[in-house]
Symmetry: C2
Subunit: 373 residues, 2 copies
């Protein structure tokens, strides 16, 4: 796996600050974020869920698609899509978040997709549990990793590879991993991994491999690029790092009032406004509380019932908005007592920044925000 | 319509160069571009169509939604969504492009959504022709404009307004304007204007008002913000400008080979590669030719049948790729002889930049781009 000398990436800056480069903007134009106003809905509208794809979307003919179980299995096999859809079917709401969400708030900033708050979403995913299918292939006793390979292929840091990730047998036993072919009651869309993807509930999105073609049992540890060379928390260049796994506790507010088109700062009238949003944590851990900061200080929001074990929880709080410019914030704490930091935690790659969201609102008399006649 | 003194926009820069601001990146994260690899398909996959929304997406209960015909009509009326869906129904493939597509390539660059090439897409739109519905309301003889108002509301340059646009009676008679409630065989998605929007085929996207609530007949010219204060071609601050209307001739190439994740530069093996893409023009004008530039010079591509009168035309050309770094380009000419410029045309707001797309490809021996083992 020799780095390619032609790759522009071998010369790319590791981190950057302040203003953004054309390459970062190109990624932002291509990848798409949640529309924050849809946080009022339990399920993110189809097409408004965040999307982060490393390479090109493979446009796959599902009639030709096969999922193979290969490597250190005693009973390797493969399945067509028709065979997969005939398996026991479940539908599960799952909140997915990109490991890079919040990267643009970390300083210095890693040179990558410059997410702010919007790389999250919740869909109803339809598919079948993966564990019984792996058991059916009879993994050999000395298997150390199951490698999941997608059909998407390209270069990162000069290294060509298909997107791939792995889970150990222990991880697989502990997680409710699903093979997915449906999303919000419709066939999976190409850009979300059609015809077949993984969903690893409770983990950041990189684990939920799209366009899944092969599950391989390995008697050594998997060393794919996306497993060992990225998606690791590192403090500096010499830090071997720790793998990024479960989602950190986080919350977002659906921005109240109406926006300014460019700045997205908000405008609302004085008086009672119900602030609403969502909170979630990883690994199936429930949300214990959400606090909201207004000019009157931090107050505890009311929690709705969770949308599902692996899906976000709605929250709301009535606020008496008073004239002026204010910065609103929200902070979630999960059932294991983990809470969001006020300032972004540093990570070399800007992974898992779960610092509190800040929303700028301008509260003004109605005549300043009247409808255009 | 007094500019609001609190608005951050009153102080925003008019134009900028080189690096990008956080506000521009915020817009790029929120709005989403076409995935260029889907240019191989006649119809853009749902959710991969470009999206540009000025304000928040209104989440509308369609059971409560009404379209009203108001103002200088002799027989004003309103319709429920059930009544609208019972009207004569047509499905039409239409290519939509944002007027700001290509803005990031114009220098100096307007401070707004920094589109590069990706603000375009083609969907199958289902709805009913608008003209008979306006006729049924009996416009008075002195009507000068029909104003179309959406449910989306916010601020631009300190001025609060609902998104609105207008067409004159002559424009309405000349254009095949549709009232739309379906997209690609499914109900219209919230972010694309559900439950009801306009499609103005052949014009840039700003004319296709989403979340349509009211059509008003005016005996004066419409002076809404989005009609008179923006979407005008202007050379400088003192230029009163000309309105942005029909789409300019343009073409794009589906990037060949595989991408580098960050730079999106492409990698492919030497040998024959079929270059493919799309070309389109405005006002229903067909595409006459597409030329493709390779290291061997400009060559004429083969055109497919157009997808529809108002939809793009596929093209392809076989190229013998030779090792090295190359810049590929494509250039369309329409049936009225208009062709794409090589360099971006200047406009204050960066509207309608139809300069040729450039795609950087690295052609290397297979061992440099082998699949990661």
């Amino acid at each position: 796996m020799t780095p390619n000398p032609f790759s522009p990436d071998t010369k790319r800056p590791k981190t950057t600050e302040g203003v953004f480069s054309a390459a970062e903007v190109g990624l932002a134009n291509r990848n798409s974020g949640l529309l924050l106003e849809t946080l009022t809905r339990d399920i993110t509208p189809t097409g408004a869920h965040y999307l982060l794809n490393h390479f090109d979307v493979p446009l796959i003919d599902e009639a030709e698609h096969r999922l193979s179980f290969s490597g250190a299995f005693d009973a390797p096999y493969s399945l067509t899509m028709d065979e997969i859809r005939a398996l026991p079917t479940e539908t599960l709401p799952v909140t997915l978040e990109c490991a890079g969400n919040g990267r643009a708030g970390v300083s210095p900033r890693a040179y990558s997709m410059p997410w702010m708050y919007e790389a999250v979403g919740t869909s109803e995913w339809t598919g079948t549990p993966l564990a019984p299918l792996i058991a059916r292939a009879k993994p050999q006793n000395d298997v150390q990793d199951f490698a999941f390979t997608g059909a998407d292929f390209g270069f990162d840091k000069g290294q060509p590879h298909a997107f791939g990730r792995s889970l150990t047998p222990d991880e697989l036993a502990a997680l409710d991993v699903m093979l997915i072919w449906g999303m919000n009651g419709q066939p999976l869309l190409p850009q979300h991994g059609a015809p077949l993807r993984l969903i690893v509930p409770g983990w950041y999105g990189m684990a939920s491999v799209k366009w899944l073609t092969d599950i391989s049992a390995l008697t050594t540890r998997y060393d794919g690029f996306q497993q060992v060379q990225t998606y690791r928390f590192r403090k500096d260049e010499n830090d071997p790092g720790r793998p990024v796994t479960t989602i950190r506790v986080k919350s977002l507010m659906a921005p109240p009032g109406v926006p300014d088109w460019i700045s997205r700062e908000r405008w609302l009238e004085p008086g009672r406004v119900t602030l609403r949003g969502r909170a979630w944590s990883g690994g199936g851990t429930p949300i214990a509380r959400v606090e909201v900061e207004t000019p009157e200080g931090w107050q505890e929001a009311t929690l709705d019932a969770p949308v599902g074990r692996y899906a976000w929880t709605g929250w709301h709080l009535d606020w008496q908005a008073t004239p002026g410019r204010h910065v609103l914030a929200c902070r979630a704490t999960d059932a294991e007592g983990r809470t969001q930091p006020i300032e972004p935690p540093f990570d070399m790659a800007g992974f898992a920044n779960n610092a509190v969201q800040k929303t700028v609102v301008h509260v003004a008399q109605p005549d300043a925000i009247q409808k255009d006649s």
